[in-house]
Point group: C2
Chain length 328, copies 2
DNA sequence: CGAAAGAATGTAAGCCTTTTCATTTTTGCT
DNA sequence: AGCAAAAATGAAAAGGCTTACATTCTTTCG
């Protein structure tokens, strides 16, 4: 149906080898020849068949960003940002990016298998067995927002601890010592990381962390608001609440509003992710800035390094920042 | 490197044709044979090479969702939702989905070309020439959130007019007759559609639309807030403002807050899209609900219909709804 | 039990490139 | 002009699978 290299060869009067070279290695053919070939190709609307090419070369020059719906979803601005950044970076490279979802990681692996892609960026909590599966298939892997101790895989993560330190430090500066945390049930890795960071940082500042001041909730505003409501209705209510992410923090703001608590006068609220909602709520939300852009870029870079046989750091930690706004 | 059909053939003692059939047409081989083959495959970690298969069959069974960064981005919750829905629907089908971005449509077309995918769902404002390009390559196309009069392409869009009618009707019920609109510069299609719908609906209700009450702004809270500030500072300020989407509406809320205008008592605000921010702002935002989920599903369904040679409606309009919340 | 029909399997060609190696043409120099 | 070296080109094999067609094995039933 579509023109092939043979058609072009016939029309232009050169061999198929030369046609092939004209497209994949233009400076290896003479100017005049190249022109003849391009002309013929133009007439026939020919363009190389990527599949046949992949077949012959035994490589596709494709990489994938794999998202597992169970762990991460693009509906979460956090992941959407990473995804966006990966796209942006990949566009400028000589490898094509495909984004692929799957119901579960097993299916995702299947999708990526069979040399359809040479490398994958795994977003969300990958499992060890699936990573080995990839490695056995000689598919390069890098992890974003996740790490896998004991595995020989580059990963790029945000400095959750550093971010938490900034947040808590800032609250202390504002005179808040009685700090609670509501950890939204986001991806297991992030949730765990932030939770541990909180405990550690509080410990380092010599603050006690009342177990009742650490709560878990579903990652919805409503759930967060409910949880915050409980926390704030108690006599010994905290002076500040850290949300596991901005949605949770928005929920806290909501709860405060319902209780008539003024923010930041009577309660300080800090979120995580520095997403666009921070600027939409009232007061605007102080939030730990996660550099999703950088995470995505580095993810792509690491994968390219791996594929190019360059050496490549195992763990890359991207610094976090703090955007101070009206809620503290 | 990886096992091929030949290896399996050798180990299991059957011909490569039988191995092939075992994988792509299991019930065309005898039970005993199938088992032998699967066993051998298991041992060799064999799985069919998708590229070779595509080469032989002259088809990939892949479809793509193409996003052009210029027009649509996954960072916009609206598109993220559609994207998510497309993924969800595609997972359950027998065709694989790849999501692909490109700096511009030309590049996107290149990506999809060459029979790497059999069909594409185009998100955002596609251009006529690119669509013809696809058609010449025999790649099926469906449009989501866009239509292309005069072209033979199924498209699925939201009923923006119906949504607008609900919104304006609701405001009138609340006694607001002096209604302004701030159209965020979102995708050209959506922006235009909502703008036109506004004019038309206002006309139908016999309301005059002061040209000064229709504004354009960048799709950021700040820009929207600025624009709203101007609108609301005037002596003859409107009694209600329609935001072109929720982000814009959130900006309006912000402006109202700055001016000390109480919402909804002194100003009603309605957004578009019914995104998650609606529940986060104070007061919660009344918004026109766009059924992104359905749009995505139908997009996939239409494409499948097209590829299966079934007939397929040209234009599908998905009804919009109205979620009334505190801002009106 | 044997023939005919049907099911299972095998053979080999084809899908469209790339790439190695051999061959031809061009170039650069003396 | 003539020769070696370099550049351009061509012939052919390879890449892993599917599938039409031919062949062999099983059933079925008179």
């Amino acid at each position: 149906m579509n023109a092939t290299i043979y058609d072009v060869s016939r029309l232009s009067g050169v061999s198929i080898a030369t046609v092939s070279r004209t497209f994949s290695n233009p400076d290896r053919v003479r100017d005049a020849t190249r022109q003849k070939v391009f002309e013929a190709a133009e007439i026939l609307h020919y363009s190389p068949n990527a599949i046949a090419r992949a077949m012959a070369r035994q490589r596709t020059d494709k990489i994938a960003f794999l998202i597992c719906k169970r762990d991460a979803t693009i509906l979460d601005e956090f992941y959407a940002r990473i995804c966006e950044s990966i796209m942006r970076r990949a566009i400028r490279s000589d490898r094509q990016l495909v984004i692929s979802t799957a119901a579960d990681w097993a299916q995702a692996a299947g999708t990526a298998q069979n040399k359809q892609v040479e490398g994958v960026i795994l977003g969300g909590s990958a499992q060890a067995d699936m990573v080995s599966e990839f490695q056995r298939k000689h598919i390069a892997v890098v992890l974003v927002n996740h790490r896998m101790p004991g595995f020989d895989i580059p990963c790029v993560v945000s400095d959750e601890y550093g971010g938490m330190r900034l947040a808590v430090g800032h609250l202390l500066q504002r005179g808040r010592r009685d700090i609670a945390m509501i950890a939204g049930r986001i991806s297991p890795y992030i949730t765990g990381e932030r939770y541990n960071a909180f405990l550690r940082v509080m410990g380092e500042y010599g603050l006690e962390t009342d177990a009742r001041h650490i709560r878990m909730c579903d990652p919805t505003v409503e759930s967060a608001a409910q949880t915050a409501l409980e926390l704030l209705s108690r006599k010994d209510r905290p002076a500040a609440i850290l949300g596991g992410n901005d949605v949770v923090a928005a929920g806290v703001l909501k709860a405060a509003h319902r209780l008539g608590l003024r923010v930041p006068e009577e309660l300080s609220v800090v979120g995580f992710d520095d997403s666009t909602v921070c600027g939409m709520v009232e007061p605007e939300l102080t939030s730990v800035h996660i550099d999703c852009r950088r995470i995505g870029e580095l993810g792509v870079d690491r994968l390219h390094a791996l594929l190019n046989g360059e050496d490549c750091p195992q763990v890359t930690v991207v610094p976090a920042g703090l955007r101070v706004r009206g809620s503290t």
